[in-house]
């Protein structure tokens, strides 16, 4: 994985020193809260309901074991022994004190990590596919271009005061696991007939109060032109994005208002002008330098079938269930991708204790080339595990309550922190996810239901991605009482769709029963081999609506 050079390390160290001074001046009163707030936000520090929250950037979700151990240590030393993995593949601490923040960030910098640009109106952490470097059908490892974008966008003076925050995601396979079409810019790595690698560019996707699917405006941007093209998009946005209304400031509103064709025309005009005046040309030798960090690890030559694995599957039904749901196919024979669920039955989606982080770090070191990934669905991934080691990995995970066999099943839900932690939330989301998880705890029933993604958000800002859940749950506040609005038919993959509201919202007491009715409607309607989303696309919302509100 990528290692900092002296410039990376220097700018991070200098930023810690600068923030240390800013915190000291705030605590002494030299800076007012109004002056300090934008400074702390630029360093990932929010003030939430109970305390300060620190959001640590995990570039494209990739971590070394050493880095994860540091995150565990920081959770113990400065917080309450756990952290929360987010839908931007980041980690949030819920209770660090402001006075401790400079020391925390200084320790974080020793493992080449920071919290820069995890908030504010700038280009945020670039997200990507957790199967990078391991997925079949991958055209190019998406972390290479993600790292290029990270370096280009960090402290970019022209893009430090955008109309609003800006999120970029990259996918290197046709199967989209990075939700690129609901990002401000989504990049799909493609290949032309001659084998050249280029990029499809989508703009104007996003969730929040006005969900939009990104429009493709670039069909094949050549590698060396990518940064210039992105710069052209950013310039058009910076020029015309609405600064007068926070709710209309994202690029999705601009693209929606002027239309994809006009956006494309403007970006191409800007791109042409940039090229004329000497555009930022991505030096291919620099790309090669970065690419070297993401070369495949030293895979062994192994038979694709593993007798050890086959025997263990037959002998251990818990392991067999885990293999069925949590293991994905690897591009190298004899290897597998392991997904570690952070969704234990009745637990908080995305929460991970410091002890669990240490355990995963040890397992990754021993079995997966010393690195791991965070997924935007709030789980962890070990990208390269030998099939013959899968049972040992499972046993090691089980000891730490990390072997829940539910990836992509109904209890593998996304949930934002909601009103339990977040100052913006209107309703709680975690307890709803927990009650649903408990209702559907039975593993046989989960497998019977099959792939079903439930996403929970505690407010319209949609950090829980409810619009793109197969079933989306949005918490709303009605005169001080929490209600839950349900959407159906959303998807965040290569067939991205925004869910449709099914009808009037449910109370906290009603919502789990409502979800069960929706699931039962699906089970009673589906045809052979259909997933929930397939059935929904075939029959539409009406049967669900009828069953759901029939008794009302």
């Amino acid at each position: 994985m990528y290692r900092y050079d002296e410039f990376d390390q220097q700018i991070v160290n200098e930023r810690v020193a600068q923030f240390r001074g800013q915190v000291a001046r705030r605590l002494s009163g030299e800076l007012t809260e109004d002056e300090f707030k934008p400074l702390r936000l630029m360093n990932g520090v929010y003030l939430q309901l109970h305390a300060y929250m620190l959001r640590v950037a995990i570039p494209y979700g990739t971590l070394s074991s050493r880095q994860l151990r540091m995150l565990a240590h920081l959770g113990r030393k400065y917080d309450r022994g756990y952290g929360h993995f987010t839908t931007r593949q980041n980690l949030q601490y819920n209770w660090p004190a402001l006075k401790d923040m400079p020391d925390l960030l200084a320790e974080l910098a020793t493992v080449e990590m920071h919290a820069i640009q995890t908030s504010g109106n700038c280009i945020r952490n670039v997200t990507s596919d957790q199967y990078a470097g391991a997925a079949k059908a991958e055209i190019e490892d998406p972390r290479i271009i993600s790292e290029v974008i990270r370096q280009w966008s960090t402290f970019h003076p022209e893009f430090s005061f955008l109309p609003r925050k800006f999120k970029i995601a990259v996918s290197g396979t046709p199967d989209d696991r990075a939700a690129i079409r609901v990002h401000d810019i989504g990049i799909q790595i493609v290949q032309d007939a001659k084998g050249n690698v280029g990029y499809e560019v989508y703009v104007g996707g996003g969730l929040g109060r006005t969900p939009m699917i990104g429009k493709k405006i670039g069909d094949f941007v050549p590698k060396e032109d990518l940064l210039a093209y992105l710069e052209a998009v950013m310039r058009v946005y910076n020029m015309y994005g609405r600064r007068d209304n926070i709710y209309k400031a994202r690029i999705k509103i601009l693209v929606h208002e002027i239309g994809a064709e006009e956006m494309k025309r403007q970006v191409e005009a800007e791109f042409a002008a940039l090229k004329k005046e000497g555009a930022l040309h991505l030096p291919l030798e620099e790309v090669a330098r970065i690419e070297a960090y993401f070369r495949p690890p030293a895979f062994e030559e192994l038979p694709n079938e593993s007798t050890e694995l086959n025997k263990a599957v037959l002998a251990d039904s818990g392991f067999a269930n885990w293999v069925k749901s949590n293991i994905a196919e690897h591009k190298v024979p004899g290897y597998a991708i392991v997904n570690i669920s952070l969704k234990p039955i009745g637990g908080t989606p995305g929460d991970c204790s410091s002890d669990q982080m240490d355990a995963v770090a040890d397992i990754a070191e021993k079995y997966s080339f010393d690195e791991l990934r965070v997924t935007h669905e709030q789980n962890l991934t070990l990208a390269h595990v030998r099939k013959k080691d899968l049972h040992a990995v499972y046993e090691a995970l089980k000891k730490h309550d990390l072997a829940t066999a539910n990836i992509n099943l109904i209890t593998d839900q996304i949930a934002c922190p909601g009103l339990d932690y977040c100052a913006l939330a209107n309703a709680r989301s975690i307890p709803i996810a927990q009650r649903i998880s408990e209702r559907f705890a039975d593993i046989a029933r989960q497998h019977e239901i099959g792939e079903l993604k439930i996403n929970n958000s505690g407010c319209i800002n949609a950090c829980g991605h409810h619009h793109v859940g197969h079933i989306g749950i949005l918490g709303v506040d009605k005169k001080g009482v929490e209600y839950y609005q349900v959407t159906l038919g959303g998807a965040a993959d290569e067939k991205t769709a925004i869910g449709e509201i099914v009808g009037p919202a449910f109370t906290e007491g009603e919502i789990v029963d409502a979800i069960e009715k929706i699931v039962n409607t699906y089970l009673g309607t589906r045809q052979d081999g259909e997933r929930f989303i397939d059935t929904y696309r075939r029959v539409g919302i009406e049967p669900f609506k009828e069953n759901l509100y029939a008794a009302h």
């Binding site: 003030l47 305390a51 506040d477």
Partner: protein, 111 residues
């Protein structure tokens, strides 16, 4: 954002977050700050509430707390109770991870 209070609330108290560590605090009758809602000064009526909030201003000036505001409370036999879910959660911690923090110490509040 969820409403902190409502028009016509009879009883209100003032809350804020402490600057140094962000912890939730309540304004007391002697213009100090306490981590316990039960120590909060409660104002009855709009004018008294505004006067109570004004008492918090110097502590913002001297960098003790940030963003003080009024919120609705009820006076009950068992003590002062926050009226909204949001303020109940601020008072007694998240309704999850009941094994630690304020939610463990004030285990009766979330019921």
């Amino acid at each position: 954002m969820a409403q902190h209070t409502r028009k016509g609330a009879q009883f209100q108290a003032v809350t804020a977050n402490r600057l140094s560590d962000g912890i939730v605090v309540y304004l007391t009758a002697d213009a100090g700050w306490s981590e316990s809602l039960q120590d909060a000064a409660v104002a009855e009526g709009k004018e008294a509430a505004e006067a109570l909030l004004a008492k918090a201003a110097p502590t913002v000036e001297n960098n003790t707390v940030v963003e003080p505001y009024l919120f609705e409370v009820a006076r009950e036999e068992s003590g002062i109770r926050a009226a909204s879910v949001r303020e109940t959660i601020r008072q007694a911690g998240p309704t999850v991870r009941l094994d630690l923090g304020k939610q463990a110490e004030l285990s009766g509040v979330h019921g």
